[in-house]
């Protein structure tokens, strides 16, 4: 009974009616959110998925067919978001050794360029939340691949401090991504 009305709302979306958009958001945000939680995303990440999914709905409104179930379309968008999130999370876990072990840092990249860019983008959201100094140290080490010694010298701090800061940053990332080690 409820879905019958969705198609009228989609017709309204085609007319750029933002109120119709709000009604669809009110109706389905809870479902998308809980869908994300079931895949063990943090609440903040689940919120992000909801936001991205509904922005996607508005941006692609012209392509949504009011003759078809709106919910199927929404599912497609939500699924792709989750899939892409899980994919990147797994990429991170896969290369966690590389991130955790400072002796590897002089070695060549274990991952290819495409994955590297993807991973960096994915992590940037969390890295932004780090205190500025910790973030700088982490990026110098893990992305610019300076040694602890080089970082210590550059920032005029001890190597121990570099090590501690990086450990804190890694724990923060793991906690946010809900990774047990």
């Amino acid at each position: 009974m409820r879905y019958k009305d969705d198609s009228q709302l989609v017709d309204q979306l085609h007319l750029n009616n933002t109120q119709a958009f709000d009604v669809l958001f009110r109706r389905y945000n809870g479902k998308v959110y809980r869908f994300a939680l079931k895949f063990n995303l943090s609440q903040a990440d689940a919120e992000e998925i909801v936001q991205e999914a509904f922005c996607g709905i508005w941006e692609n409104r012209a392509n949504i067919d009011s003759g078809k179930k709106f919910e199927s379309y929404l599912f497609g968008i939500a699924r792709n978001q989750i899939h892409s999130f899980l994919r990147k999370k797994m990429l991170f876990i896969k290369y966690l050794d590389y991130f955790e072990n400072d002796t590897l840092q002089q070695a060549t990249d274990p991952y290819d360029d495409l994955q590297y860019v993807e991973l960096k983008q994915f992590l940037s959201r969390y890295i932004r939340m780090l205190p500025p100094r910790r973030r700088e140290i982490f990026e110098l080490s893990r992305f610019d691949r300076l040694t602890y010694q080089q970082i210590a010298k550059k920032l005029n701090i001890s190597e121990n401090t570099v090590d501690t800061q990086i450990r804190h940053a890694l724990n923060f990332l793991k906690n946010n991504l809900k990774i047990n080690s």
């Binding site: 933002t18 869908f35 079931k38 509904f54 599912f75």
Partner: protein, 364 residues
């Protein structure tokens, strides 16, 4: 092609936080492509089908705000927030689903009425910072709401159960009706009661959900249990009087580890970090329910946590710049004190300075 059983296994591990690097090697290939393959897609689909769409996510107003902002949709966004001053008459606000602006203008006649009927009539009460409120529900249950809380309940309860939704902190004195169990749903847990009094604290911005039982007996369930085959439907905890359960929001797997405490001893805590829920026995319940009698009590709490309580209690914004103070522990209680008097009292045992500018307080 994927083995569906394997992927189910993977999702269970994902939810129990037991995913190890060695598992990744096994499951990662399924996630290598941008489009999920058939086996994985079926899992997504089934999970989606099993997810209820009845209720909005916590903080949905803010998320919609952000979406509007990002898409630059120009329009007044009317929030569904109502404020009730302290100790006012019992005001129940009738809230028709989607009270937002959509009822207006040309849009109205294009939407059939069935639209509204599909949602039950819900009452909603919000309490602003610095205030408290109490209400009596249709079944005679009395609820007292603490500052910054919101309670949503139906105008009439269903015949076989009573269900309310709480954000924030509430003290419930549930009238007994064994044929209609009473459920308090919070963000992540659901509390089932027959007739009893207890306190629930579940603020969206806090990482814990605390349930303190004064008398009777209650069961705690995972809110998502009815929606997912991967989450146990059994209660995650059963509380006895003077028990307190703390649910850690970001850990999904739950088991309970209960210890008996000899009376008179300090409460011991049985913690199982993987469990996500922690039960303390023989606690001093008044410590957690004093607020309902207009007393702000704290015992050995960190200043940083006390500051959050002061913000809600006095409707002030505290800018805590003194880092060593954050970790200091205090015991005390306030009832009729003003915020200045409260800060002066705290200053007796710790070194700090403060400035007050309207409702903004800087502590350094």
């Amino acid at each position: 092609m994927n083995n569906i059983k394997n992927i189910e296994h993977f999702i269970i591990k994902l939810n129990s936080g037991e995913l190890k690097k060695s598992d990744i090697d096994q499951f990662e290939p399924a996630f290598r492509t941008e489009i999920p393959d058939e086996g994985l897609d079926n899992i997504y689909r089934e999970t989606w089908m099993g997810t209820a769409d009845a209720k909005e996510m916590p903080g949905s107003d803010a998320v919609l705000d952000r979406i509007h902002h990002r898409l630059k949709l120009k329009k007044d966004f009317s929030a569904r927030r109502f404020i009730i001053p302290e100790w006012y008459k019992y005001v129940a606000i009738l809230l028709i689903a989607f009270t937002g602006g959509w009822l207006g203008s040309r849009f109205t006649h294009q939407v059939p009425d069935s639209f509204v009927e599909s949602e039950p009539f819900m009452n909603e009460i919000s309490v602003e910072y610095g205030s408290k409120s109490r209400i009596t529900l249709p079944d005679g249950t009395k609820v007292k709401l603490n500052s910054g809380s919101r309670l949503i309940y139906p105008a009439r309860f269903e015949t076989n159960m009573r269900k309310v939704h709480l954000e924030g902190e509430g003290f419930f004195d549930v009238s007994r009706d064994e044929n209609r169990p009473f459920f308090v749903n919070t963000q992540l847990i659901s509390i089932k009661v027959l007739g009893t009094s207890f306190n629930v604290k579940s603020y969206a911005e806090e990482s814990l959900i605390e349930t303190t039982l004064v008398e009777g007996s209650i069961e705690i369930y995972n809110e998502l249990a009815n929606e997912s085959p991967y989450i146990s439907k059994a209660p995650i905890a059963t509380l006895k009087p003077s028990d307190k359960a703390t649910f850690i929001k970001d850990i999904n797997t739950i088991s309970v580890n209960q210890e008996n405490v000899e009376s008179g001893n300090r409460p011991t805590t049985s913690t199982n970090t993987k469990a996500g829920i922690m039960i303390e026995n023989a606690i001093e319940t008044t410590l957690f329910t004093a607020w309902k009698d207009n007393v702000l009590r704290f015992k050995g709490e960190r200043f940083e946590d006390i500051a959050i309580k002061l913000e809600r209690w006095y409707d002030v914004k505290i800018d805590l710049q003194n880092n060593s103070l954050k970790e200091e522990h205090f015991t005390g209680q306030f009832d009729t004190e003003t915020i200045e008097q409260a800060l002066e009292a705290l200053k007796l045992t710790a070194k700090f300075r403060y400035t007050i500018n309207k409702n903004e307080i800087k502590i350094y």
